[in-house]
């Protein structure tokens, strides 16, 4: 009674899918970072280009090598390593020696991601793990700043960029002097904050100051974040929470004592806060999934950033703030699991 059937395929439901995939998300983040990277190359020249390239290549190579060695299928195609590399490069000063960048990239992926089990299993933002390692291992190099828009920046590197591995990098003082920029002392606006009120928030906003490769142009970062928001690949609550809480807390402190504490606009636009809030803190793997959890997470980052900047001995607090919040994310998630439909809160609590 059975007729010869046409070749039938059976699959499990659902038979339709929303057209958004993980590697599309990663690709879009890379695309969103491109203008920021391009601006940084425009501002800092050849060194920035080499820095970003080496960071990206180092991360991708490390991931490829780890997959090869562990016998697992190659995951480089999901673009997450490339994004990590770009982000790592964008948080480093343009004068950072390339060999140190390569080490940082390997640590980011090796320690920050592969050790935990790869994409989706890491607790900490891999780029920041690399950055934190570099901060600890090479404290001088990572805080050596050079001015933007130096003449001849596309033709020659900053001297310390091409430093030979394990040798002390060439000091940049002469380079800075030769650049002949008035009143530039090799410090970032945050460094200078305690000394003189140098940076105008508008300058900070438009990227006319020195700093790490990618953190200078706040307006561009905001626009790129907006692109991701429109494509529904960014959780708006995290930047809102981080920037909002930084603004609020520093605003309150500024009102209490305008001399000791800088203004909220300055706090929001200076340093790596914009880049951190929009591209680092929003990393999906390391941030909570629940609605309440996301708010707690982002406000925590903002508060810790302000505290470190104002009361800690470091000028920049975003990196550590995000890493600390990442560490607390599993706990935040457990505590903020929402009530299940048809239950009262007590009944649905799980430990």
């Amino acid at each position: 009674m059975s007729s010869e059937p046409l070749s039938v395929d059976i699959l499990t439901s659902p038979h339709v899918k929303r057209p958004m995939s993980t590697n599309a998300i990663m690709r879009n983040v890379a695309v969103a970072l491109a203008p920021v990277a391009l601006f940084s190359i425009f501002a800092f020249g050849l060194s920035a280009l080499l820095l970003l390239s080496v960071a990206t290549i180092s991360c991708v190579l490390t991931e490829w090598a780890v997959c090869r060695l562990s016998g697992k299928p190659n995951t480089v195609g999901d673009y997450s390593a490339a994004v990590t590399g770009l982000l790592l490069g964008l948080t480093l000063p343009p004068s950072f020696p390339l060999w140190m960048v390569a080490v940082g990239g390997a640590i980011s992926i090796g320690l920050g991601k592969a050790l935990f089990g790869g994409l989706g299993y890491n607790t900490f933002n891999p780029a920041l793990v690399g950055r934190a390692f570099l901060q600890a291992a090479f404290p001088v190099a990572v805080t050596t700043w050079t001015p933007p828009f130096v003449q001849g920046r596309f033709l020659a590197c900053i001297p310390s960029t091409l430093a030979f591995p394990f040798l002390k990098p060439t000091p940049v003082a002469e380079y800075i002097a030769a650049a002949n920029i008035d009143a530039f002392t090799g410090a970032t606006p945050l460094n200078l904050e305690g000394v003189t009120r140098l940076a105008d928030p508008l300058d900070l906003f438009m990227g006319m100051t020195s700093g790490s490769t990618g953190e200078t142009c706040a307006v561009l970062i905001l626009l790129c974040g907006g692109y991701l928001l429109v494509r529904n690949m960014l959780d708006w609550r995290i930047p809102a929470g981080v920037l909002g809480s930084v603004f609020a807390l520093s605003g309150v402190l500024h009102l209490i004592n305008a001399d000791t504490y800088p203004g909220p606009l300055f706090m929001v636009f200076s340093g790596g806060l914009m880049l951190g809030a929009i591209f680092m803190a929003t990393d999906m793997v390391t941030s909570p999934t629940t609605a309440l959890g996301v708010w707690i997470f982002s406000i925590l980052i903002g508060v810790i950033t302000v505290v470190i900047r104002l009361k800690g001995s470091l000028p920049e607090g975003v990196m550590y703030a995000i890493l600390l919040a990442n560490a607390v994310t599993p706990l935040i998630e457990t505590w903020t699991q929402p009530r299940v439909f048809g239950t009262t809160k007590k009944a649905s609590s799980t430990s």
Binding site: P5, D9, S13, K17, Y121, D235, Q337, V340, F341
Partner: protein
């Protein structure tokens, strides 16, 4: 004109898959002829299978009783066409297993007229009689769940029903049979609601319709019979609005307790097709023998809504509507929850509201690569029951099936697949949940031994 008891109009979370209803919602329902052989499985509903009361070589009339109910949670079966019973044997059903069925060779001259029984006076009948009559009609939930309707209408001691809901949402993409039914059989729908009101003792009835069916909303609003406490309410078009828990939440803002039934919040919810059939079958004590099915999809040449006798093999239906050359997959129901069938010999049953044929293109469009969970939280935002599918998926990977049930409400999940629909990593979440539920059932069965 109607008093508005409606609160909310929607529920939280949910997803918006593309509707694909344009091809069939404007076509009137067309009657399909009889296939040469009808295969009527004895278990077309949740509960105990029906028991055959006919024998091989017996001649049956259309609408004649061929199997009686196998218990309280069971319904009888009636012959969908006049013919001869060739055998009572195993038949392949949609789930892939073989189950007992009555094979009927249809008379070439068979007419559409169905057997009529003694007239049944609905006005004079007591609620208990109404419930009994509904069972004898073989009525089950025609929205897809196929739960015996009379069980829903049986109100146990200590419980009351204050509202009857008529589910006209039809949230699955592609399906339009309920929509067409509301436009073409509104009088039966209202009559069915009147029966349901009387049987359950409810004070009022609300017909919930998604707002992508404006014509049905307008027509029904203007046609509510005088004196009946029936209200027509729009709800936001969203998937899975048609799930009864979600409809109750949207219309009345009541949450059915976890592990409970709508009865626990004093509601009885019926599909509009079920109610229309109730009114059509009860007056002459007839049995359920046919239903409207949306046959559609890119693999179908003539999509539309067809009135199809139960037990019609899919091959016959698809020959009639024409399958394209690149058709590769046939699904019963909608694309979000509908199961694939492994053979076109499978017959239609009471719960089949749609037949969807998908082509090679749809298969190719389905992403193949599965990435690890990136904790994006899309599934958490999509789940209408506020579960945590990513956590459940992680537990399923580690085969912690008991933990899923005990700590994380696995059994609340009704497999709407909203989570799987949105997952950017293409993790087959709902398949994991089905595996988990199946393993938990096995373990419990093994323990009982």
């Amino acid at each position: 004109m109607a008093q508005n008891f409606v609160l909310g109009h929607t529920f939280s979370h949910g997803v918006h898959p593309p509707e694909h209803k344009k091809g069939t919602r404007t076509e009137p329902i067309e009657r399909l002829g009889f296939a040469p052989t009808l295969v009527v499985p004895l278990a077309q509903h949740i509960g105990a299978p029906a028991k055959a009361v006919v024998a091989k070589k017996q001649e049956v009339a259309r609408g004649e009783l061929i199997a009686e109910a196998g218990g309280f949670v069971s319904v009888p079966m009636h012959a969908p066409a006049a013919g001869t019973v060739t055998k009572i044997d195993l038949a392949l059903i949609a789930s892939g297993s073989m189950a007992p069925a009555v094979y009927i060779k249809v008379d070439p001259e068979a007419s559409q007229e169905a057997l009529e029984g003694e007239p049944f006076d609905i006005e004079a009948a007591a609620p208990g009689d109404l419930v009994g009559a509904v069972q004898q009609a073989g009525l089950v939930g025609l929205g897809g769940a196929a739960f015996p309707t009379h069980v829903k209408m049986t109100v146990p001691e200590g419980k009351t029903i204050d509202t009857v809901l008529a589910n006209g949402c039809e949230c699955e993409p592609y399906l339009t049979c309920d929509h067409r039914l509301m436009l073409e059989q509104k009088d039966e729908l209202f009559a069915g609601l009147a029966i349901a009101l009387k049987a359950t003792g409810a004070d009022r009835a609300i017909i919930g319709i998604e707002d992508n069916k404006q014509d049905a909303l307008a027509l029904l609003r203007d046609s509510v019979p005088h004196g009946l406490p029936i209200f027509v309410a729009p709800v936001k078009t969203k998937y899975p609005q048609g799930a009864e828990k979600m409809l109750i939440k949207a219309l009345l803002n009541r949450e059915v307790p976890s592990g409970g039934l709508p009865m626990d919040v004093n509601v009885a919810c019926f599909n509009v097709s079920t109610l229309a059939q109730m009114a059509a079958l009860l007056p002459k004590r007839q049995g359920l023998i046919e239903r409207v099915v949306t046959v559609t999809g890119p693999g179908v040449r003539k999509p539309g809504n067809y009135l199809i006798p139960l037990g019609t093999p899919l091959q016959f239906i698809l020959d009639h509507v024409g399958l394209t050359d690149d058709a590769r997959q046939v699904i019963l129901g909608g694309p979000m929850m509908g199961p694939s069938v492994s053979s076109l010999d499978v017959p239609t049953t009471k719960g089949v509201s749609g037949i969807l044929a998908l082509t090679q293109k749809e298969l190719d469009d389905r992403p193949k690569q599965v990435y690890p969970c990136i904790k994006c939280g899309s599934c958490v935002e999509a789940c209408p029951l506020y579960l945590n599918p990513s956590l459940l998926g992680a537990l399923a990977r580690k085969e912690e099936y008991e933990a899923m049930e005990q700590g994380y409400h696995l059994n609340d999940c009704f497999e709407c697949a909203s989570c799987t629909y949105v997952c950017p990593s293409n993790i087959p979440l709902v398949q994991y949940f089905r595996i988990a539920k199946s393993m938990n059932r096995e373990r419990k069965a093994a323990k009982r031994k």
